[in-house]
Symmetry: D3
Amino acid sequence: MSLVTFGETALRFAPPDGQRFETAREATIRVDGTASGVAATAGRLGADARWLSKVPDTPLGRRVVAELHEFGLETDVVWADPGAGRQGLTFHEDADPPRAERLLQDRSNTAMATLTPGELPMGEIQNADVVFTSGATLSLSDTAADTTGALLRAAAGMRAFDLDFHPGLWDAEDAQDALADLLPAVDTLFAAEEQVSAVFDTTGSPREVVHTLATEYDLTRVILTRSEYGAVAYHDGVIHEQDAIETSAVDESGQHEAFIGATLQQLAAGADTDEALLHGVAAAALSRTLSGPLTPLEPSEVERLVDSQQSRRP
Amino acid sequence: MSLVTFGETALRFAPPDGQRFETAREATIRVDGTASGVAATAGRLGADARWLSKVPDTPLGRRVVAELHEFGLETDVVWADPGAGRQGLTFHEDADPPRAERLLQDRSNTAMATLTPGELPMGEIQNADVVFTSGATLSLSDTAADTTGALLRAAAGMRAFDLDFHPGLWDAEDAQDALADLLPAVDTLFAAEEQVSAVFDTTGSPREVVHTLATEYDLTRVILTRSEYGAVAYHDGVIHEQDAIETSAVDESGQHEAFIGATLQQLAAGADTDEALLHGVAAAALSRTLSGPLTPLEPSEVERLVDSQQSRRP
Amino acid sequence: MSLVTFGETALRFAPPDGQRFETAREATIRVDGTASGVAATAGRLGADARWLSKVPDTPLGRRVVAELHEFGLETDVVWADPGAGRQGLTFHEDADPPRAERLLQDRSNTAMATLTPGELPMGEIQNADVVFTSGATLSLSDTAADTTGALLRAAAGMRAFDLDFHPGLWDAEDAQDALADLLPAVDTLFAAEEQVSAVFDTTGSPREVVHTLATEYDLTRVILTRSEYGAVAYHDGVIHEQDAIETSAVDESGQHEAFIGATLQQLAAGADTDEALLHGVAAAALSRTLSGPLTPLEPSEVERLVDSQQSRRP
Amino acid sequence: MSLVTFGETALRFAPPDGQRFETAREATIRVDGTASGVAATAGRLGADARWLSKVPDTPLGRRVVAELHEFGLETDVVWADPGAGRQGLTFHEDADPPRAERLLQDRSNTAMATLTPGELPMGEIQNADVVFTSGATLSLSDTAADTTGALLRAAAGMRAFDLDFHPGLWDAEDAQDALADLLPAVDTLFAAEEQVSAVFDTTGSPREVVHTLATEYDLTRVILTRSEYGAVAYHDGVIHEQDAIETSAVDESGQHEAFIGATLQQLAAGADTDEALLHGVAAAALSRTLSGPLTPLEPSEVERLVDSQQSRRP
Amino acid sequence: MSLVTFGETALRFAPPDGQRFETAREATIRVDGTASGVAATAGRLGADARWLSKVPDTPLGRRVVAELHEFGLETDVVWADPGAGRQGLTFHEDADPPRAERLLQDRSNTAMATLTPGELPMGEIQNADVVFTSGATLSLSDTAADTTGALLRAAAGMRAFDLDFHPGLWDAEDAQDALADLLPAVDTLFAAEEQVSAVFDTTGSPREVVHTLATEYDLTRVILTRSEYGAVAYHDGVIHEQDAIETSAVDESGQHEAFIGATLQQLAAGADTDEALLHGVAAAALSRTLSGPLTPLEPSEVERLVDSQQSRRP
Amino acid sequence: MSLVTFGETALRFAPPDGQRFETAREATIRVDGTASGVAATAGRLGADARWLSKVPDTPLGRRVVAELHEFGLETDVVWADPGAGRQGLTFHEDADPPRAERLLQDRSNTAMATLTPGELPMGEIQNADVVFTSGATLSLSDTAADTTGALLRAAAGMRAFDLDFHPGLWDAEDAQDALADLLPAVDTLFAAEEQVSAVFDTTGSPREVVHTLATEYDLTRVILTRSEYGAVAYHDGVIHEQDAIETSAVDESGQHEAFIGATLQQLAAGADTDEALLHGVAAAALSRTLSGPLTPLEPSEVERLVDSQQSRRP
């Protein structure tokens, strides 16, 4: 099955564990983007996946693409003139409870914000079995939002979208407006539970939330991730629930992308919702045991974990 | 409010996690001192804090002062001639249970042991709202003990003291003698529970211990820290108790200084004992999630943690 | 007491925690061998221990011996011509659950596989109080298996053997054949529980397994390690059980060797089976708190942990 | 003597030696700013030095100030609201010939670009013996350029300025316009030789260039640094030349700031031009042997090097 | 232009600079192969390059391919069953004179040694403008040698070959025999000067050597690299010489591949021999300033260096 | 041949290259001692070498012995009670010219300073072909000086001594007094040229100095090392000179010990003075290409370098 994703991928700098930027001397450099992370996971698990984006032709922009290639992802990149847009950056301080993690978004005036539909290979998007993008792309600029809408509307296959709401990028009101325009072109919505409540006026249990969103925005599927609890999905009038799989070591970065990538790969390969969600939480659990947003998952270990979970069921 | 602390700050060498000096090839270098740690925390949380000490004018002595400045602490240092005293060193092997940590004290003949009252800016001490020092300073030499007594007696504000007893520096009997001389000049005593039992012949529960110590030494406040349990304080005839806040990642170094620094900052700013203790355990908890003895705490996150703890109370 | 062990020691490469070889840029280098690890632990805890092996005279072979010396082990090494055999290598990706660790064995055509009895100092083996080797040595080649048999038969003291079965080295059927030849020359058998079930057709509880093995192969002692549960031993008609000691930080590499080394050192020093097993689990627990297969244990801390465990008993 | 400098200080990320961002996994983090570097050097060599700036109140902004404090510099910082301006960043790939180094400027919309004169302590500037700033500050925004002019005009002491021209920040034409406005308020101009030719239409030898610039802009002093050759200065109708001091290890970052800092400290302390230039090249040479832009120079070693150079003269 | 290369790529482990395996604790991991390095350089400089090989489907084999992708190389890999062949390894200790570097080849029984022509996409090879492989591939096994011959004979474009002789892999006599069979299928021969003398009985100056080899083996082009001196080439009856470009920092690994990759890219793009050699030495010089065998060269900097060299000519 | 050396070995901490302790966060840990370094080199090159010393039974003392064992040295250590003496420490900042290196000696009250002759195995010393110690041991205490004298007088073989004068340990006058007592028991004196002039009132050329010292102190051999120039020796009325061998990478630590170790090994193995000196400078040159004081030299590479030097001679 073919999956095409598009969106910005930031370069993420992070100090060593237990340190802060205030006194750190070194930072690790990793790429961090919803669209590329989803494509990378789906591709590693068997999809014919490809990531589309606009990236500045600078050492930082090339850094983004090099790491994606290293993890095996195929890319189709519009190289922007160095003066025509920055590389988006994030500065991330991970933290163990009760300390809260911190994420400094430094993504103004990026190359991706200038992307127009004409710059992308529309044929690929039209022919893909699944097209995926996310809310962070919407937030970059009006141009980016328009492009996102045009691309989703052009897609003939499944049109999946992750809410991907970050307060450091825009505020909830702007997000609501943009989503009101965009969601009619979406059929499958992913969202993290805490982001839903930050953007929408939904109340009630997760089961109620997915039902409400599906109804209100006329969506085929709504899949809510609940970081420590698993996932809840609405599809075709039915609510599906999937517990998370406990992990002893936890690097949460990338788990959301791993979940979506595995779920989409399964859905497009013909799995039913329960099977897809189980693969999603399995990929997310394995991702939490590996460092960084992009992780070198292998299909065999996802299957082994899925099997061991199924064998525990009554 | 103004806080002045004085005492020796050691340079701490530590092998990487899970290693020992016996086979380690590298060590991290961090400063580790009760007086400087207390001042640094109080200063970061809003106090006008300053650390006084005598330090050898060598690369190691300058290293101590540079790190304190990096963490934002103001210092008033007497620079000793390189030949007139060593820089105190500690060699620390951290350990997870059931393995015990090891601390090798290498602090003989330090510059601080030669400090006389005339070398310090007495005006600062006399005018400070709070003066703080600790037992390790007492142990360095008779000169250091005399100086400590002279300084505390000269102080007009709150006179706080941490027991800070380390068997590698002196024995319990000598400590008792020195404390008998010194405690009349102290009004607020901090002590870690296990150090109290190593030095004093106290028996009974923590609540009894703080009461006994306050009575015996005529102290205004006695505050006992109980590493996994929180703090117990005696003040004005009342016992106050504060649970610790659980943390998932634990670097215990510096938590005691964070507790005292936050507690003193609060007390001097007019907080009542319960409020001060709660800030103390919050600062200690956050400190445990950051590596090293000195940690870059921020007032806003201490307040956020204090608020979240208060909101859990019935 | 004198202990002589022989067998191959691999050089182990491992990527940083949370990473995989697929995308790692660095690896740590450590030695990893059952026979050398057992001797190193026993030696650190008081035995007069020595490791015998055949090692290629290359930078990698010398690396193996240098690390063993660093940890205080005496060695008696036959240096093989660089062209006459490789240095055995392993590539290890540690993992936290639910991800499984991976061990790539790269140990074909090693120098050790060419070892003949005449190359070793037979006097040392004949006179040792305890001789120890393990199943991995058997698997290397027919020559190595013959040599192992010859050496054990030559030994006059206790003849201890660890099952040490790795599917990457040979299969269960070959192992059974080789063991059928060898076990008559063994009196004390160590085995990890999961390896027993991979090699033998044993069924039943651990208590039954040790009894069955002792009876079937006419062994004086059978000691089964159960990684999270401790050890079960059969000796002289009696079953002995020992709980594991919980540890908060876990690097499992080397714990099996630490267990055997401490147990053998105790048995040879005259301890009874319960005492020996308790020392074994204490050494294993401490080993889990230190990184790498070889760990710088100290006798005093093993004793302290043994004492603290004994004081908890009713 | 008192020195006040103001200007932006960037946070510099750099991959390990011999690597590029395209494939690097880590970066070192160091501060890199002309104004702060000049003040830090002058301060270490004996001046009463202070750096003024506007910095965002974010982890990155606090990082800048923490490192400056670590190197002993006093600061007077206006903390900008996180939303009101970015922290300026640079991405630097060092290179050995014939490969050229690369510097990616990422300094749009910084907090410093919004600085107005009213935000700074004008008294400090008016009373300082020397005020120093540089061209990079001019380039940030019209506001920054206006502020720079206002501050220099307010200064009563020596008004020193470094050309500090970076093509990544603005172009030569804009720089000329801004300098035409500003240079009347300057009396001492520093410039690197290759930057002079990039900005001005000067021709001729370095001796002619300093004379031409001094005449054209009515400057008291013009000091040209010639990285591998030393410095040439015009003062009071006389040309002064100073050879560079050869170094075997070369990290060129920070050498320009070390030169200016030492030269200004000497001039303000009453040294004549030759003496000041000699201290400048000595500080620059020592700086090249230490890694990073900010270096922990010591006065005694600068003096020793100055002495050894003087003793070589005929 | 299209370039197809094939051959084994080893995984190279190296201790930190100035250390040896005997006492090192860590190693860097990099890929190191003539065929992949040539393709990677040519691809970065503009060729449509692709590397063909057989690689074990293990963490080590995947590591090889991931790094090649990271550097932007397209690959066409036959994945071998883990049990069907090892990943070739090298262990490299770099050294500065007068110490000699050491290279331990650990490449017996690799997956590549089992490659048969039928496993490769012959169409790609037949249609490529340039096909390249090297002597190390010949040495792996008779199968590999036969396959190499079959592939070169199938190629319709330029058939380039690098001598790539390593004493650790085979001896000169075997190499001569294999080359006698193979060279008739080659038209362009690359060789390092010291390897030529190790394999062939050539005497005389480099100019004579290239002429002799071209005549004896009926080659269109012979290009000899002389590490510190540059290159000497024979083509069409004419000898071409090109000086090396001096570099201040030297990591020699990968320079040979950079030279060949750039030279082939130029030749295939229509450059004459002198132009091609100049690009070759420029790429080699830049490669020496970057760490590791694979280096992220950029076309613009190769051109800039070529231009600066040309402008120096009389 | 058998060589016994005795003396203190310090634990050396050093910041990363290009950094200073003032702002460093990590330090490497290496052992650094004249007596152990000489024995280690001699042992690696073929001597039956052994190092005798008194070391505190602490993590730091054990660290010293572990590294010596790692490099293959046999030791005979008196373990001192932790309270009975410190482990000697040095803090070393390496530097490239024109910056001067800095060495902070922190070696007061060490365990070695309490060593008495009765604690050492006198038999080993009496029977050794060569006994070696150095001036730093003399400086530790009167006890150490007395012990040094007693041991040298007890030796029946060659009695070699290195001047090893460090101003941070004692002053020249004390050194002269101690040497006046000791040198009558010495027959072979090594000294670095700059240390000779710091201790003795010698004038004249190196050739004159060795002659003067030999005559004045009635020494069989005097060998002067001249770091960049090689060595000059007096023996039996003849002056021998040996040029140094140039190296491109330079870590000077340990080169002096490598020189003495190789020279002594050769002399004791029957080489003449010229041969011995040539091996000395070869070992020193190789040592400069490896990091740290102790270096893993191999006999074959010393021989190869000796041969290449001899083949250059007319």
